[in-house]
């Protein structure tokens, strides 16, 4: 039996010092529940993604608290941690459990509060996703990971670094443009008319990446309702189906050698998802990719098979990935424009994909979208999840 997504919800991304992690999940969960038009008692389990609640809010063991908060006492509730891919891992596990027949209907989501934690704690918390012994000895940060990748990309593909920086800046310009029109985005109403020069000239974080090459720190929550086809058809005539999923893993950045710009685990995860969905990259109408940094979007599109290695930078600068291009990428603003509440990011990509496939994403709708793909990366190519969704 097929598995469907029947409801989606997300908080506004941004700063929520007045909400706990549990509150952020609950807000998104009830929006998804109403969207699905089902009753609370229909939800049989909760799959919850959170990355660093211990460090930002002093809270671990969150799954029981989120279940209790939404009024679902005593159901199985599990926390998943795969860094930035936490709720995508949770989503894939939920899909597999429903497909296997364990449940008819479950909730998946995530929450994170990195903006309220402040830059120093936030940067240290994010850095827990790199190798804790050898990479932390050197003080490697997340912008650092992609800064290393960017310089190597320029070298390997024989692109002058300054030229690559300009092409990378187009990712930021595009994603901020789309984030600025998305009411749920952290930068809604801001930075909609950035120029390449603005990105190049903003504050240097880890050379060659500037502040505007980076996604922001974000507080937020997201949730989706996953059900089997039978239940889905009872409550909503025409659901969005999960066509395929893939997941793979990788070790420390330095162990990957020259593959640091090839994201091999992502290539494997994407191929797994394409095989299961019985489609090829050409069949995908738009993608939500993990643009934690500008160069990350470029590397992702190549590893997923949409462009040859070393060429997505040119395609991006030429507008191929814009809303009216051949392959719209991150029409909701992506992590850069919409924000990146780590544990909530994966299911927020599912939120956008579902809204787009239902033709409900009116502020930046992809025309005639039938098949969408999401891509979430945890760590320095440590946890990769790809999901393909579609409508009949």
């Amino acid at each position: 039996m097929r598995v469907a997504v029947i409801g989606v919800g997300m908080t506004k991304f941004g700063k929520h010092p007045d909400k706990s992690l549990v509150d952020l999940f609950a807000d998104a969960f009830f929006e998804a529940l109403e969207d699905a038009n089902i009753e609370l008692k229909n939800v049989e389990a909760i799959y919850f993604g959170n990355f660093v609640g211990e460090m930002t809010d002093g809270s671990a063991n969150l799954s029981g608290f989120v279940a209790d908060e939404v009024g679902l006492k005593n159901i199985p509730a599990i926390r998943y941690e795969g860094a930035c891919a936490s709720s995508s891992v949770a989503f894939r596990e939920a899909v597999r459990a429903v497909k296997a027949g364990y449940y008819n209907c479950v909730a998946v989501g995530g929450a994170e509060k990195l903006l309220s934690a402040g830059t120093a704690i936030g940067t240290r918390a994010l850095a827990t996703a790199v190798d804790g012994v050898y990479e932390m000895a050197a003080g490697l940060t997340f912008p650092g990971v992609f800064a290393l990748a960017a310089r190597y990309y320029a070298k390997k593909y024989e692109i002058p670094l300054q030229k690559l920086r300009e092409m990378m800046a187009h990712v930021s310009v595009k994603n901020h443009k789309y984030g600025a029109v998305n009411p749920k985005a952290q930068f809604y109403g801001k930075y909609g008319d950035l120029k390449v020069e603005d990105v190049l000239n903003s504050r240097m974080i880890c050379s060659p990446l500037t502040l505007l090459d980076c996604c922001p720190m974000t507080d937020g929550g997201s949730a989706v309702i996953v059900a089997n086809e039978k239940f889905a058809k009872e409550v909503c005539g025409d659901p969005v189906y999960v066509l395929g999923t893939g997941q793979a893993s990788g070790g420390s950045l330095f162990r990957q050698g020259e593959d640091i710009i090839k994201a091999i685990p992502r290539k494997i995860a994407a191929e797994m998802a394409f095989r299961e969905a019985k489609i090829t990259p050409k069949d995908v109408d738009f993608v939500e990719v993990h643009d934690c940094f500008t160069i990350a979007e470029i590397i992702a599109l190549e590893a997923m098979g949409f462009f040859e290695y070393g060429t997505a930078c040119y395609a991006t600068a030429e507008g191929v990935t814009s809303i009216d291009g051949d392959l719209p990428v991150n029409p909701d603003g992506g992590l850069i424009g919409k924000g990146h509440p780590v544990g909530a990011t994966g299911t927020s990509q599912i939120y956008t994909a579902v809204k787009q496939l239902r033709n409900e994403f009116k502020w930046n709708q992809v025309k005639d979208a039938r098949i969408a793909m999401t891509d979430t990366l945890g760590g320095d190519f440590g946890t990769l999840v790809n999901i393909i969704l579609g409508v009949d």
Partner: protein, 133 residues
Amino acid sequence: MFMEFFNSLLEGKLLGMKCKDCGSYTCPPKHTCNSCSSRNLEKTILSGKGTVKTYTVTYVAPMGYEKEVPYVVALVELDEGPWIIGRLDVDPKIAEENDLTDKRVSIFAKEMPSEMFYPMKEKRIVPYFRIEG
């Protein structure tokens, strides 16, 4: 084996593993060969020489590392094959104004303060790369 790796590096020795099955090197040591996943490994001391593949000057540091900025993090390809992470022992300005990729380097170690979450609580031993010539 990370403690042994760092303490050896302080004495000027770069500890790695040689695979008795495929012949390739893994550094720092791991339970399995980084090339073929074999457990048939033997400890060995590597040359400590290599080539800079990529680097970044870090201006925004995590909590516990703020006093060290700006610092230069680099990936170096050792002559025996493995890539290794550490810091370039160079003025960050020089790293920004010049292309230091492909430079030949040799490895050594510096003791730095540990921080609340780092696994070695007494001190942090940081691999450093000195540019040769």
